[in-house]
């Protein structure tokens, strides 16, 4: 149940603060998203710049980079995901505790980018794990990464705690672990996780 905004402001003037459990819960979730200390390619340099003083990711509560997936809330796929690396990325994602989020940063992470024709590059990490925010760019500027953070925070804010649209960690039926692709004789097996990624319909 949402509180009327005007009423909230009026009561605030009187020194009474009201909120809902959902707002409080989501505020807590979105204000301390700790990213995993993990970079894949040149996008990682932009990610590092984002955390430093000029762009100051700390303003969003996401300055604590954790070197262990167990302590991290968010994975920034910062760079090219090669087919040799993809199983390890999925495994790291599996090791993270819920609630967890994924930002696919840059052209390579979202689609393969300039290496699309290559035999060795995965065409987007969203083929194996659910991605919350995609950022285009090669590499995206730190501002774009901040924008992705804010998009993710808005997404978290808008999530109800019950019902169909509830986040995955409150859904008992939602999968907790995603199958790690095998490195086969010619390609990754399977080439995509069908439950996460289906071939989008291209309207021409």
């Amino acid at each position: 149940m949402a509180v009327d905004e005007q009423l909230k402001i009026e009561m605030g003037k009187q020194g009474v603060f009201v909120t809902t459990l959902q707002e409080l819960y989501n505020w807590g979730r979105r204000s301390s998203i700790w990213p995993m200390n993990f970079g894949l390619a040149c996008c990682a340099i932009e990610m590092i710049a984002t955390t430093m003083a000029r762009y100051d990711l700390a303003r969003f509560g996401a300055e604590v980079f954790r070197p262990s997936p167990r302590q991290a809330d968010m994975m920034i796929i910062s760079g090219t995901v090669t087919k040799k690396m993809a199983p390890q990325v999925v495994r790291l994602y599996n090791q993270m505790a819920e609630p967890r989020y994924v930002i696919a940063m840059g052209a390579c992470a979202i689609s393969g980018g300039p290496f699309k024709q290559g035999y060795n590059v995965l065409k987007g990490i969203d083929r194996y794990i659910p991605v919350d925010v995609h950022i285009p760019g090669c590499p995206p500027r730190p501002e774009a990464l901040l924008e992705a953070f804010m998009t993710l925070q808005k997404k978290i804010d808008a999530q109800p705690l019950t019902g169909e649209a509830r986040p995955r960690h409150l859904d008992e039926q939602a999968p907790g672990e995603f199958p790690v692709p095998e490195q086969g004789a010619h390609d990754l097996e399977p080439p995509a996780n069908k439950s996460v990624w289906t071939v989008p319909v291209v309207i021409r």
């Binding site: 040799k84 035999y119 490195q183 071939v199």
Partner: protein
């Protein structure tokens, strides 16, 4: 620095069993190279490194080249005995006919090494080795015991071209994973077809996406036919 011809003469003087060919480079750089036999290559390499005048102590680059089987079509003039009816009587006549013949020149894998000298400050000296074919006779001697810097580059050539280096201390794939069967830099390598989703395809990607869609449509047709 010595010219390639002089180096060839020096090699053949030092390693008598070595037979060295010169591969001409017609480009303006005229960087001619030495083609070594696999059996004597290590001895020649040691000579190139240890010779006081050459002192090629630095291996800068190892490259693989794939030369696929080449089908050559050529026109040959053949003289035949032909039975012909000339002025009412049958005669044996010699006739020259032009025939097109096809022959297959077998391909091979080639490894190219670029050498420099740090002490003498000269180079590069380029030498090559060729395998017998592209399938089962792909062994070449490793240069890692002579120049340590060959180790990773030879592993890369092994990974991407499939040349087996005899005498290499740690010959494993370096870029692709263990269990990968193909050699991606070979000309006849078939890439995995994952062009099912190409929203903004152009150029080469567009061609492959169209090929994928055609194949998928054909497969769907085949399934329909099987169901009926």
């Amino acid at each position: 620095m010595k010219t390639v011809e002089e180096i060839k003469a020096a090699i053949e003087a030092a390693v008598p069993s070595a037979s060295v060919e010169i591969v001409q480079n017609p480009a303006p750089s005229a960087q001619h190279s030495l083609l070594l036999k696999a059996e004597t290559a290590v001895a020649v390499a040691k000579f190139l490194r240890d010779d006081a005048e050459l002192a090629l102590d630095f291996l800068s680059n190892v490259t693989g080249v794939d030369w696929p089987d080449k089908e050559i079509t050529e026109k040959v003039k053949v003289t035949k005995m032909v039975t012909k009816t000339v002025e009412g009587t049958e005669q044996q006549v010699e006739e020259t006919v032009e025939e097109t013949r096809k022959r297959v020149e077998p391909g091979y894998l080639e490894v190219v090494y670029h050498l420099y000298s740090m002490t003498k400050k000269h180079g590069p000296v380029v030498f090559r080795m060729r395998t017998g074919n592209r399938a089962d006779d792909v062994k070449l001697p490793s240069m890692t015991p002579v120049w340590r810097s060959a180790e990773y580059q030879e592993r890369e050539v092994f990974d991407l071209y499939g040349v087996e280096f005899v005498g290499h201390p740690d010959l494993r794939r370096i870029l692709m994973w263990e269990g990968f069967k193909d050699h991606p830099m070979r000309r006849d390598y078939v890439e995995p077809d994952d062009f099912e989703y190409e929203p903004t395809a152009h150029d080469e990607v567009l061609k492959r996406a169209q090929a994928h869609q055609a194949a998928a449509a054909a497969a769907a047709e085949g399934q329909k036919g099987a169901a009926q």
